[in-house]
């Protein structure tokens, strides 16, 4: 039996891979990736980058106190405008909120909260949903019936309604929001994953593993889960955006991350009336941050959808 000269093949393969890599790089959605990378960096480095603390008011100078309150000493100066407007200063470049805290620092720490909540929440949802979807699809019969009926019932609950309902079960807190997102969104995954697994189950490599006497759990872990990852990834990237919005909406309605933590949605809710007073920067900056994050997540999701899952392309 002749050995096929796979070595030559592999040099070619390396060149091909490099070319493919370049093409992929060129086709990557650069703008959303850059925005996401920037936000992620800010989130991770917030304590280092932020010029001021997230909770404490910025200590004002004598002149500022005199200008605002006509006394030489005051605890803080609230509602300072951004640096380019009259009365603004470079020390607090995006102004201060009504408690005299630096808007920029809070936005930076807010990126942290938004990303943590959205990513971990979606991750947990993905994990639960994928697992249940695989179980339903692969174990079949009662597993399938029970899990899918629950999924169906779950899906009929509008997500925000459900999130609000859940959030009033427990006291608000960051990790509760994560839990809520996980509990709300898993059903999206389980439905999609189940369909995928139903198809996979009929593939030969799964049958082969069964005939080989490989345990069901091993099959699920080694064969099924890796193969539904594409679908899960696409869903994940699209859900992250939704999760950010839900988190912001929950916080805005007072059901989310409690103050004084600087969640963007909460910052907007707290300064909701400031917009009317002309202090637009307290409302527009967090709003823009949310929009930017969700927009880039959505763009990335769209791109992934086209590239990872041709079946989903037209949906």
């Amino acid at each position: 039996m002749a050995t096929i000269p796979i070595g030559a093949d592999r040099t070619l393969a390396a060149v091909r891979a490099a070319r493919r890599g370049y093409r992929v790089l060129r086709g990557l959605p650069i703008v959303p990736l850059a925005i996401l990378a920037l936000l992620a960096a800010v989130a991770v480095l917030a304590p280092v980058l932020a010029p001021h603390g997230k909770l404490d008011p910025v200590k004002p100078t004598r002149e500022q106190c005199l200008a605002k309150y006509s006394t030489p000493d005051c605890p803080y100066v609230d509602n300072a405008p951004p640096f380019w407007a009259a009365g603004g200063r470079l020390d607090t470049p995006l102004g201060t909120d009504s408690l005299g805290r630096d808007e920029l620092s809070r936005l930076m720490h807010g990126a942290r909260i938004s990303l943590i909540v959205a990513l971990t929440g979606t991750l947990f949802a993905g994990a639960i949903g994928t697992l249940l979807g695989v179980l339903a699809g692969y174990m079949g019969r009662w597993w399938d019936e029970i899990i899918m009926r629950i999924t169906d019932a779950w899906l009929t609950l509008p997500s925000l309604v459900f999130a609000i309902l859940l959030s009033s079960v427990r006291e608000p807190g960051l990790w509760n929001v994560v839990l809520i997102l996980a509990l709300v969104f898993w059903s999206r995954y389980s439905r999609a994953v189940r369909g995928e697994v139903l198809a996979l189950r009929e593939r030969d490599f799964v049958k082969l593993a069964e005939i080989n006497g490989i345990g069901k759990l091993t099959i699920i872990w080694r064969h099924l889960i890796p193969n539904v990852m594409n679908t899960v990834m696409v869903l994940f990237s699209l859900q992250v955006g939704v999760a950010v919005i839900i988190e912001a909406s929950l916080s805005f309605l007072g059901f989310g991350v409690p103050p004084p933590e600087p969640s963007w949605g909460l910052m907007m809710a707290q300064e909701r009336e400031s917009l009317m007073e002309g202090r637009w920067w307290l409302e527009v900056f967090p709003g823009a941050c949310i929009t930017m994050l969700v927009l880039s997540a959505n763009m990335l999701g769209d791109w992934l959808r086209v590239h990872l899952d041709p079946q989903l392309r037209n949906r």
Binding site: L157, I164, L165, S168, F252, M268, G287, T291
Partner: protein
């Protein structure tokens, strides 16, 4: 076919029952509504009487059985907070939600369909990107942000549009004439909330239109029409659009319901007395029957719609009947 419909119906019933159970359980985990209503310092006898009149002194399984059996008779119970039957309050609010949802739907069509067509006709062009961007932006801006900005600009600064609620016209159940006038009056109140809500959905509309158009434009049928020498504008307007609007319209019913359901934030911001605001109020007051009623009604609508779609698809495509 009969068996298929039966099975689907059974599934729907099971789904509804699960929904009922989930809601019942969840709502009861949210805390004690009596404490809310009685405040601190209420006399214990009154609290006990309140608890009794709301049926909260019974063991949980009795409450559950009572709840389910009343539901089967179409009785959603009395609102704790609003002291009237849940059903009456819900149906008083539903027209408001439908009006908002319908207007928002029109907005999403007006924004989504033309942009969707343009981007399908000129794939990867400037129009395509711009349309996608507008749609994605709508998906990415939180509703409360859009709402607040609209209120400030058009309500306060320019003073063009009213900002409070739906205006004086309302549906009066006993007077059918009000049902019609309700739809045509106070449209100025509708503009901002409908836009804020509709923008969010225009993205989905755009996508469906675009992919529908692309499918149709690529089909043999259109190629044939083109070969016959029909002018391109006619091809698009008459043949392609007509066919690609079918998925848009089938999607519409579902979308309208979804809109009614997701409108909470918009309704709260614009003080729109719809079902969403009702639910928000009920949740903030631990008004168990109201929460149960509203969520069940919205769930019921979705389940019924899903069932209808399943059955219709079953008629159209026999393979679906066999697959499950």
């Amino acid at each position: 076919m009969k068996r298929y419909v039966l099975v689907r119906a059974l599934y729907s019933v099971v789904t509804l029952w699960l929904l009922v159970t989930i809601i019942f359980g969840l709502v009861r985990l949210t805390g004690d509504p009596v404490a809310m209503k009685a405040e601190a310092g209420a006399d214990p006898a009154y609290v006990a009487q309140l608890r009794h009149s709301w049926g909260l002194d019974q063991p949980l399984h009795r409450q559950y059985l009572g709840f389910v059996s009343r539901l089967l008779r179409g009785d959603f119970g009395h609102s704790f907070e609003k002291s009237l039957p849940v059903r009456d309050i819900y149906f008083e609010r539903l027209p408001n939600s439908l009006k908002l949802g319908f207007a928002a739907f029109l907005f999403s069509l007006a924004l989504g369909v033309p942009f969707g067509m343009l981007s399908a006709l000129k794939v990867n062009s400037w129009w395509d990107s711009a349309g996608k961007m507008v749609a994605l932006l709508g998906l990415s801006m939180p509703g409360f942000f859009v709402g607040l900005v609209l209120i400030i600009i058009f309500g306060i600064q320019l003073g063009w549009l009213p900002v409070l609620g739906k205006g004086p016209s309302a549906v009066v159940l006993g007077e059918p004439s009000t049902w019609i006038t309700f739809w045509f009056r106070d449209w100025a109140h509708l503009v901002m909330p409908a836009f804020a809500l509709g923008w969010y959905f225009s993205g989905a509309m755009l996508r469906i239109t675009r992919s529908g158009m692309l499918d149709v434009l690529g089909s043999d049928y259109i190629k044939l029409v083109r070969l016959k020498g029909v002018p391109e504008s006619v091809v698009v307007a008459k043949h392609a659009l007509k066919n690609s609007l079918i998925p848009v319209l089938t999607f519409a019913g579902l979308n309208l319901l979804v809109m009614v359901n997701v409108a909470i934030v918009i309704e709260v911001i614009f003080n729109w007395p719809g079902v969403g605001q009702l639910l928000y109020d009920a949740l903030s007051n631990r008004d168990f029957p109201m929460v149960q009623g509203v969520v069940l009604m919205s769930g019921l609508l979705i389940v019924v719609l899903n069932f209808t779609i399943d059955v219709l698809y079953g008629y159209v495509d026999p393979r679906i009947r066999l697959s499950r």
